[in-house]
Amino acid sequence: MTVQEGKIDSFALLEIIGRVTSENSETLKAYLQELGKREQHVLIDCSALEYISSTGLGALLVLLKLIQNKHGILRLFCVSPRIVEVFKISGFDKYFPIFPSLEAARRAET
């Protein structure tokens, strides 16, 4: 797993690449905690996210709680159908707005 970060409009733009397993999810969690403390609005590009286990979902939940506490925005885009299914089974589809593209994510009405 690797993570890349950029900026677009007022959003931090994060790309999570590869496989998030319980072996590397602590690394992701630490990164997202730090991100959640310094940023208010975050878009996450999941187009190269191949796999995520429950511990990875836990890391995303930590970020979501930090962002919601300061009334920020957290949106995901380009999530593969397999991972969308994992979100649905977990109930996470109700927590994370998922968009088909970066354009749709950045232009969405809050």
């Binding site: 397993t21 286990s53 927590y95």
Partner: protein, 144 residues
């Protein structure tokens, strides 16, 4: 049954072994031309079971062996995971509240919730020492 269609792997109780577990799942599924969606589900379910054993199964710092067997049938895949960990039946664990509001949502228990929902059957067997979990995944729905 062709012996080549069955696989067994003995892994140490370390999250570092997840790589090897993933490689075994990929090899098993590709050899049988199992649909990638089904492979993804088997991969994830095994990751969750293995992780729970490694994280919560042992009170000591010793090295333990976890045995994973994958067996291919005509219509289903049967996976067993055996450990020598303390007795734990994950099927008796409380269900997670997937409808909880974000602020109250906890991540504990989500792994076994995923396993139950990704697999078609999950069975638990207490062994004289340790546990055996059996996962059954039917083939067909995604295969068409």
């Amino acid at each position: 049954m062709n012996a080549d269609e069955n696989m067994e792997v003995r892994l140490p109780n370390s999250l570092g072994a997840l790589h090897e577990l993933h490689a075994v799942v990929v090899q098993f599924c590709r050899r049988r031309a199992i649909h990638p969606d089904t492979e993804f589900k088997i991969d994830l379910a095994l990751d969750e079971v293995f992780t729970n054993i490694v994280r919560y199964g042992y009170d000591d710092q010793l090295s333990h062996e976890i045995v994973v067997r994958l067996k291919g049938g005509q219509n289903s895949i049967r996976i067993s995971i055996e450990d020598d960990a303390r007795p734990f039946n994950p099927l008796l664990a409380p269900e997670v509240d997937v409808d909880a509001p974000v602020a109250e949502r906890r991540i504990g228990g989500l792994g076994i919730h995923l396993v139950r929902n990704l697999m078609d059957q999950v069975r638990y067997q207490r062994r004289p020492v340790g546990n055996r979990l059996i996962l059954i995944k039917r083939l067909g729905k995604e295969e068409n």
